[in-house]
């Protein structure tokens, strides 16, 4: 298994998943029209990574915009992480970064944190 790196551009977010450190990061804008297709390699990587128990994971979201289609994919990622923590001894921390004047991005993070049982840090920058 190798690190996952996707260069961000236009409607595609930058993805950097680091095996050695357990720091998984997604950043930028995500508004691909077919997010099921775009996120498939990301889910494939995550499923392989989470097959090994007891990992300590820091998942950083540094998004400036994502569409509603992406919003579903993020919820699926949180569900995977929650399940990993509950059933496979994983320790997961989610860092949700938002530009300090971006009230909508803060609210989006708050709403995800209500929907899943994960340690959620809402971090302005």
């Amino acid at each position: 298994m190798e690190n996952l790196n996707i260069t961000g551009e236009n409607y595609i977010p930058a993805v950097n998943f680091d095996l050695a450190t357990g720091v998984l990061e997604i950043a930028g804008e995500s508004y691909h029209e077919y997010t099921i297709e775009f996120y498939q390699p990301i889910f494939n990587w995550l499923n392989a990574y989470l097959s090994e128990p007891n990992r300590t994971i820091t998942f950083n979201f540094r998004m400036t915009y994502y569409n509603t289609s992406t919003s579903r994919r993020f919820l699926e990622i949180f569900d995977l992480l929650e399940e990993y923590q509950n059933e496979k001894g994983g320790k997961v921390t989610v860092n949700w970064y938002y530009q300090k004047d971006d009230v909508d991005m803060l609210e989006s993070g708050e709403e995800y944190s209500e929907d899943v049982d994960l340690t959620f840090n809402l971090l302005p920058y």
Binding site: N10, Y31, Y34, N67, T68, L75, D102
Partner: protein
């Protein structure tokens, strides 16, 4: 083109109504990211939160056209048929108007109309609950969309959806969807 159609009149009407962006055609991913990027630059100058919302609502409306318009055009770049429609953004002193127009099959009109009416009837808490419920609902098999775009637009704008339908022929209507975004006072 009708012999009475005057490009100048069309242009003037857009000027008078402070149209800052209009596009008719196939709404591809690349085109959308260019249009949305330029719109963000223009609208973010007054208030970053309003600018981001104009940007987001424009993207949601455009992607509705891309996915759901009954008029399609084959895109070589994307290797699939993509929706054709009309996008319009105008700016008044106190608000922005973002709208989309496209063909819709007649059999879908009632469903879309009822969904808009339902969403327009919800208060803030109701919208949040409906958004979360629909985001948790299984992915529709007939569409890659999230089925929460209309709710999102009402939540972000704080205004109801203005949806209208116009007859075209026995099979198709035109749907226009307009979202008003108030500027901060």
């Amino acid at each position: 083109m009708d012999k009475d159609f005057k490009v100048y009149n069309f242009y003037k009407q857009m000027q008078v109504n402070s149209v800052i962006l209009s596009f008719k055609g196939a709404v591809s991913q690349d085109l959308l990211s260019r249009l949305a990027g330029s719109l963000k630059k223009k609208s973010i100058k007054d208030d970053p939160n309003i600018g981001r919302r104009v940007f987001g609502i424009f993207i949601e409306l455009s992607q509705n056209v891309h996915l759901h318009s009954a008029e399609k055009s084959y895109s070589l770049a994307e290797d699939r048929p993509i929706g054709v429609g009309f996008l319009l953004v105008s700016e008044a002193d106190d608000c922005y108007w973002v709208s989309s127009s496209n063909l819709i099959k007649k059999e879908k009109v009632t469903h879309v109309n009822q969904r808009c009416a339902h969403i327009n009837g919800l208060d803030e808490e109701g919208l949040k609950a409906f958004y979360k419920e629909q985001r948790r609902a299984p992915q529709r098999t007939d569409s890659p969309g999230a089925n929460i775009g209309l709710i999102e637009m009402v939540r972000k704008s704080g205004n109801p959806l203005d949806v209208q339908f116009f007859d075209v022929d026995s099979e198709n209507s035109i749907i226009t969807l307009t979202v008003k975004l108030d500027k901060p006072r």
